[in-house]
Assembly symmetry: none
């Protein structure tokens, strides 16, 4: 097989250029379909053309760079839209690393590599919008009806890119998908390892709960007569922690991140509390068991405290297993370039690969995030790690070819 050697400086230069679109301090403000996002995609299309790839925008604004020929080839990439206040590497790294691998492979006479930057991964309209539509998990009509927080529809947003839009590239054009990404968590940073080979992308469930009791005066209502909704939440939280502990793995997480106490005044026994429980795990069966414990614990606490309980806004994204043979090729490349400094791990964050995995073998590679920070202007990764990740990707591409 042909060895492929990436050029670290070219990788970093392109990353810095991409950063300049929507730059804000050390981070970027480049949400999907904003002017900076569209300008960045036009620049990316030009860089693809310079790398011998034909740039194709699909109807939702996903940008593909297609190599010559009809044989199914490897697709690599991620997304170049950002959070409303995002870091410079979230998504961008996977796109530019793919571009560098495609260029380096062409220079080395390696296998053709296609590149993609998916649109709206960060959920302006819905979670992973661009890859979701391209993978056929949501129709274009459904997507068009989604609205952002300001009431703009997806149809209106993508109309701003209509002059660029071509067709959706067929899935059969590609043999597999590999996405490089920053970890966005602390695992590699804390362990001192440099490469993560992703085995699974966790599934996510979330439910919004409401406990309702009786709002009352905090001085004149005896403790035994209270129906305090906040106290119900505190007891639920404590019981839930104890009951989930024996069911989970070290990678399982659950979060109560949103809490609204009503009327939220120091001298009033809370009559109502709204809260969200979100849980993530790599196995559907475990997600199911957790769901059952969460629901029964909420009902038990509510019953005991004479609160009413209601649920709404249930969200569910199934876990996605990365293709074992593809992950093994990334692992082999990691062994070659970073022996002893890599690990297999799950992804606790959602990624486009979770959607693409429905239509072709998919795998992911992580590089460390300094201090585990992401979705923040402070997000960063050591330059050496960025280069190493791209080299591992290149070697995996060579082996895959």
């Amino acid at each position: 097989m042909t060895g492929i050697t990436i050029q670290p400086q070219r990788l970093l230069d392109d990353l810095e250029t991409l950063r300049s679109y929507g730059r804000c301090g050390s981070g970027v403000v480049r949400p999907a379909y904003c002017e900076a996002d569209i300008e960045a995609r036009k620049w990316l299309a030009g860089r693809m053309r310079e790398a011998g790839l034909e740039p194709v925008f699909d109807p939702v604004g996903n940008l593909f760079g297609l190599p010559p020929g009809d044989e199914p080839c490897l697709l690599m990439g991620s997304h170049s839209d950002s959070q409303p206040e995002g870091g410079w590497l979230d998504g961008a790294y996977g796109v530019i690393a793919a571009l560098e691998v495609a260029r380096a492979s062409r220079e080395a006479g390696g296998p053709p590599v296609a590149v993609v930057s998916f649109q709206d991964e960060e959920g302006r309209f819905t979670t992973l919008t661009g890859s979701r539509v391209w993978s056929g998990l949501m129709s274009l009509e459904e997507a068009d009806a989604m609205t952002d927080h300001e009431g703009v529809t997806m149809a209106e947003a993508r109309a701003t890119m209509a002059d660029l839009a071509g067709d959706f590239p067929a899935h059969g054009r590609f043999s597999a998908f590999v996405e490089a990404h920053i970890e966005q968590g602390p695992v590699l940073d804390q362990s001192g390892e440099r490469i993560g080979v992703v085995e699974d992308i966790v599934g996510i469930r979330s439910e919004r709960y409401r406990f309702e009791g009786q709002q009352n005066h905090a001085g004149t209502t005896p403790m035994r007569l209270r129906r305090d909704a906040y106290q119900g939440l505190a007891e639920f939280t404590t019981l839930l922690n104890a009951r989930l502990a024996p069911l989970v793995t070290p990678a399982t997480v659950w979060t109560i991140g949103h809490v609204a106490v009503h009327p939220n005044a120091p001298s009033i026994v809370p009559g109502r509390v709204d809260f969200t429980v979100q849980w993530r795990d790599g196995e559907t069966a475990r997600l199911d068991r957790m769901e059952s414990v969460i629901r029964s614990t909420a009902e038990e606490v509510a019953g005991k405290r004479e609160l009413s309980v209601s649920r709404s806004a249930y969200a569910r994204i199934e876990p996605a297993r990365m293709a074992p043979a593809l992950a093994a090729r990334i692992e082999a490349a990691a062994r070659q370039h970073a022996e002893g400094l890599w690990r297999r791990m799950p992804s606790g964050a959602l990624h486009d690969a979770a959607n693409v995995a429905h239509v072709m073998p998919a795998a992911m590679l992580f590089v460390p995030s300094k201090r585990g920070i992401s979705h923040s202007f402070e997000e960063d990764t050591a330059h050496d790690d960025l280069a190493l990740g791209a080299q591992v990707l290149a070697t995996a591409a060579a082996n895959a070819g």
Copy 2:
């Protein structure tokens, strides 16, 4: 002595007019210094003037209606600010009942009666702010530095009333203070009695706490690495309940009524939580013991979870004994108008009378709260009970003159 007869319809009409300021359904939204509160005070000042009283706003926004002459007279009243979501009678009843007694006494040639509506009884800045400052228990400078939950200072809030402000009326202008109030609890309603003669007001303490941990991604941050501020609060709440239970009496209460989670998003591990702990009891020694448990539990939980903990806005009001001779005069009037339908009782709610008792004899009269509900839009009292309470107050005023 001159008999004083109140006019029930005039009392109810004025209560309904006051209710119209900030009305929301059957309740009111009229927190201290909001536009509805200030407009209500201006209307009250006009009604005082029509009753032959000189309206005087002091620097914190307490509104006094002073009768002509220099002789020390009886002061009656309560407060006209409301909870963020309050009932129509909490405070308002005592102010309008006082106004009606002042009018009725003047019409009957009875003793002069002064009227007061204290400001911020409901604790936007601190508990019983207006009567606390007027009674000299907190300096104006200290009060000015207090902040509400949105970070507005008391100095900023009272500046909105600066054009109305005069001096603090001297305590020596008044011989005693009597406050009528709805019970805000279930005792009279459950017993079928119509008048409560208050003997003591419980002490109250409250502290605002902050736990700070590390805000982070709810998918990629393993449970063992989290420093989740909300989880700290839940554990604190549960531990506190268990530790306070053996220290308290059936009349002791404690409440976590205000909780603010930051950034309060379902997919983010909370990095910060602000909350208020309030506790009430009739004995200073028990309040001290509870305080010690609350503080040590907060520190223990924070230490264990690697959160920082800070306290601010400590409020303390000692239990207050009502003046026996003044209470006896209210009791005599209750016997006259409601024989067999009154009782002596403690107040589990805090009232301005607890502050005023530090500078002059003070007493209180309760009327029933339907189903014991208060600090809620549902708060209500039978019209006959409202009229009876004002008549008992008037007869007590006549006897006191």
